[in-house]
Point group: C2
Chain length 329, copies 2
DNA sequence: CTGTTAGCGCTTTCAA
DNA sequence: TTGAAAGCGCTAACAG
């Protein structure tokens, strides 16, 4: 096995017959450094011939900042939407010369603090709030802190405000003539930062129409437990329910089935996310999606803006969340 | 905003009244270096007081190897099982002092090659095969290459061999008295590296019982298209089908429903993964799961072994994939 | 047992 | 327009 040593900028410099500084200049397109076309091409193809790619470690050490964007995942189970968001985000960041790297959150791990100190990322994107102290520490260490989804109210949203999602659900149901709504709350306490605002959105929509407050129930992902919930809604004259997400909505569907109710006849149901099983459900599930490509691109733009001190663009939130009408509502 | 400068080992050394080398020794528990208890504690709490954490960049630059394990995700949509695997893997690696970092594959990105060169990870875990050239290049650059899932036949498996999954499905169906099986192939060409071996497992199980070869059909995630498939199975006397995964199985269920067939009466169906919607389906879906915690821990162990030149432990594959019997088969 | 020293590969003044 | 040189923070010989 040929223990090939790493190709360094010195190798490139030697092959191109220039100094390492020059190599650095051309490879980085250093502003206010002009390089003769000849030298430039010579360096460029020396680099290509050698298969040179700079050491991120050295560069980071030198500049004090890497081109890595760290995304901290929450420790609750993530769905395909997150996967899609990350894919889009990664692509968008790559276009800006940044590298997205994701750290799967799993409880009982080394605290986040260690991680960002260790990686010196250009930016950190998180699904959970930082304490002010953490944020300050990171910022002063040169990290463009960005807290992602659950940021409520404080000005610009970095992702789609979850209230909007809830509002869309409720509006769809109300438009179909329902006046008494239920809300199917997830069984998993860890997602409450998402569920809370969605429910708030549903409440707001009802309030705006002077309809009664939605009756919320925690719905486990289990047909018979869900059936109990369905019966309780039934007994409170609820005719339509907004579910936290598609999985919960599927549980409601299963509950209705085992309780002997028909959907949407006896109970209309609407979910969130449009996961693949949604359209395969019985009946096919009406749901609301958000365009993750747009969110990903926007998040990337926000990160880039934050890094260069510019202010972030606005997310056209209203345009990218829409209901996918199917048969359940 | 206090632009606090990074705390370096020199700061710790100063506060502890020792040299940087000493700090390095105690913090790394350098083998064959003995440190007096007094010095050790002095250094340790100087570090604690300062909130010191070493610069990964510097360390990587110096040692030529980081403690990051890079996992390259495929560019096809990943399900919750992968999420769970990554969580477990991350936790397991952390216990070994390694940091898992995941790069979402998205098409059209900077080639993988660049990425590993840039990050100098201790190991790379991938869902897709490397070419021999890539593997050699990585290994010679000091990366303990580890190709994850689709590694077929070549000795030790790094993850559960997908043949086994298919075999389990078929065995369950056969044990229930079915003799003519169908295979529901995914519509997405990108997952064929997973689908192929699963189908092979089903075939092998049938062959072992001298049963006819399973009749394979590509099933789109769409009720009416799936209904066509179901009818074709019906016309070939297939009474039970193994689906590539739960989503495809859900499609088969939907197809049966729209074709007016009952499950499992007219057609039995078994999936793979046990995604949450599986138990909420009509009827609840029988499926086969694999214990991701075990796989995660094993993968971690493999990586660690590879890094220290030891040989990897064996994965008790047979023990960790089991069918979850519900109503569809 | 602890300190001195020499870089790892890169960027970036400062001179030439 | 290019080169020389000084480190970024850390580890690992080698001395003391």
């Amino acid at each position: 096995m040929p223990d090939t040593k790493r190709v360094t900028s010195a190798d490139v410099a030697r092959l191109a017959g220039v100094s390492r500084a020059t190599v650095s200049y051309v490879l980085n397109d250093t502003p206010r450094q002009t390089i003769s076309a000849g030298t430039r091409t010579r360096v460029l193809d020396a680099a290509a011939r050698l298969g040179y790619s700079p050491s991120a470690a050295a560069r980071t050490l030198r500049t004090g900042r890497s081109d890595v964007v760290l995304c901290l995942l929450p420790d609750w189970p993530i769905g395909p939407e997150v996967g899609s968001l990350l894919g889009n985000l990664s692509a968008a960041l790559t276009r800006h010369g940044l590298t997205l790297v994701v750290h799967p959150g799993s409880r009982g791990e080394r605290p986040v603090a260690e991680l960002w100190k260790a990686i010196t990322p250009a930016a950190v994107i998180s699904y959970t709030e930082f304490t002010d102290a953490e944020a300050a520490a990171m910022r002063s260490a040169g990290v463009a802190v960005v807290v992602a989804v659950p940021r409520r109210g404080r000005g610009r949203e970095l992702a789609v405000p979850q209230e909007l999602v809830g509002r869309r659900q409720a509006e769809h149901l109300v438009a179909a003539g329902h006046t008494r709504l239920g809300y199917a709350y997830p069984d998993d306490q860890r997602v409450r930062f998402f569920a809370e605002p969605r429910l708030a959105g549903v409440r707001a929509a009802c309030a705006a129409r002077r309809l009664p407050t939605p009756v919320g129930l925690t719905v486990p992902l289990d047909p018979s437990a869900a059936a109990d919930c369905v019966r309780r809604w039934q007994s409170t004259e609820v005719t339509a329910v907004c579910a936290y997400n598609d999985e919960v909505a599927l549980a409601v569907l299963a509950g209705a089935r085992t309780a002997g109710l028909s959907v949407p006849g006896d109970l209309a149901v609407i979910g969130v996310d449009d996961i693949p099983p949604a359209r395969l459900a019985a009946p096919p599930l009406t749901t609301v999606t958000t365009d993750q490509a747009v969110v990903g691109a926007h998040l990337a733009a926000t990160v880039v803006a934050a890094m260069s001190g510019r202010s972030a663009p606005e997310l056209p939130a209203a345009d990218i969340v829409r209901v996918v009408p199917r048969d359940s509502a």
